[in-house]
Symmetry: C2
Subunit: 250 residues, 2 copies
């Protein structure tokens, strides 16, 4: 395979796959933001999407990075955040899953992901997916080797209207095995005037997810995803509010 920075034809991924904040933190929390960015290299011309669609929730989790960065700063906790759009390859889906490199997302067709050849898929796997997950695995390995506790928390957001249906839910805690930790988060959030539920609006699937089952549950570590409706994260006040809610709970 050609180097990630050297194939204009396949995408020219000159940015690193991820940004790591506060690597040396001693906080047990590892914050992860798989859908942090809507960045698509210019050579890929927004994968054929309209200017508007490429800035919509299908390309990234709007507000999730802002919230994750604020939580990382407030707690002094490590944050691993993706630098590329989930539309290139979804970091929270196993490789080869139908929606790993989606040809359709919600109501949007994604022309630039249709009929991709294996070289393009491999390029995205090797340049975007593997660096991110290898780094996350190494971060966890190093801490466990030092006898330190590790919790893995992904920060996500969801769209207030999905397939035309409005969603009244404001936040969700998605979990598999970390039932106690998830319940503590749900109990804590329920102290505030927010509509929150466990395993809504999505459920963790061990065959369909990455962060929670692979990096958390499969290693016996507490791991959850926090989902906040993205219309609540569009202002600095919204980010402040959710930082205040989550900070004492994580």
């Amino acid at each position: 395979m050609r180097a990630c920075t050297e194939s204009a034809e396949l995408g020219l991924f000159t940015e690193p796959a991820y940004t790591l904040h506060r690597e040396a933190s001693e906080h047990p929390l590892l914050l992860v933001c798989e859908h942090a960015s809507r960045f698509i290299p210019a050579g890929l011309t927004d994968l054929g999407l309209s200017h508007e669609a490429a800035r919509e929730h299908i390309a990234w989790d709007i507000g999730a990075l802002a919230l994750a960065e604020r939580l990382s700063a407030a707690l002094g906790a490590t944050l691993l955040a993706a630098n590329y759009s989930r539309l290139l390859i979804d970091l929270n889906r196993p490789l080869g899953a139908q929606d790993s490199i989606p040809a359709k997302s919600e109501i949007y067709d994604i022309p630039g992901n249709r009929d991709l050849d294996e070289a393009t898929r491999e390029y995205r796997r090797e340049c975007l997916f593997k660096p991110f997950h290898d780094r996350l695995q190494t971060l966890i390995d190093q801490r466990l080797a030092q006898g330190r506790p590790v919790r893995v928390v992904g920060i996500h957001s969801f769209t207030p209207v999905y397939h035309g249906q409005p969603r009244t839910l404001e936040a969700g805690v998605l979990f598999g095995e970390a039932k106690d930790y998830a319940q503590r988060l749900l109990d804590g959030l329920s102290q505030h005037p927010v509509k929150v539920a466990g395993n809504e609006p999505y459920k963790i699937n061990p065959l369909g997810d990455m962060t929670v089952p692979v990096h958390g549950d499969a290693r016996g570590l507490e791991a959850v995803l926090i989902e906040v409706r993205n219309d609540l994260l569009r202002t600095p006040e919204g980010i402040d509010r959710w930082t205040d809610y989550l900070r004492p709970l994580l």
Copy 2:
């Protein structure tokens, strides 16, 4: 995608992806044999391997199915066994891993897996990998929904000579989170005159394995792989011996 039984060009997978034995068993044990078969459809001409190489350990885990079937019969436990060679797609590797559809295995090049197009890869994923893992997931789901305990045990074998080096180890128990269960198996096997070790000759990697991390550890279920050196499984007496060793322990 074309139906799995209808594309001569891509492989013509007319056999089902797996065989399920004793589906209605009430035993908590779910036996899995991912590398049970060396079957490669005739149209794929042994993937360009020599007649001998296509019958070697790279194509399947020699003796593993015989042992798994004997254990299934002896315990009355369910067994899910693959019907196709691991060389078409490895059922114990995540999709998209380098060795999911290997172009090389140990010292053998696999011409029929070189430069595969995406249609061929998708065909193998959809016709071989997904049916197997969806069925295993459903089996587990159904039992958990009935409040029944579930343990997942993969039966594997390994080659006595690997990259030219002889192996003196006779059996291994590979585990991630199921440390107590693995230790009971190791203690039990150590009562017999066999050379056995934990996490040898391989180690479970949450990013590189399927059965143990995804179906077991990520769901909080006890899950291990049993590895037996394949020269010990080449006779009916060998199968009998290892069945007797393992039967009271599983």
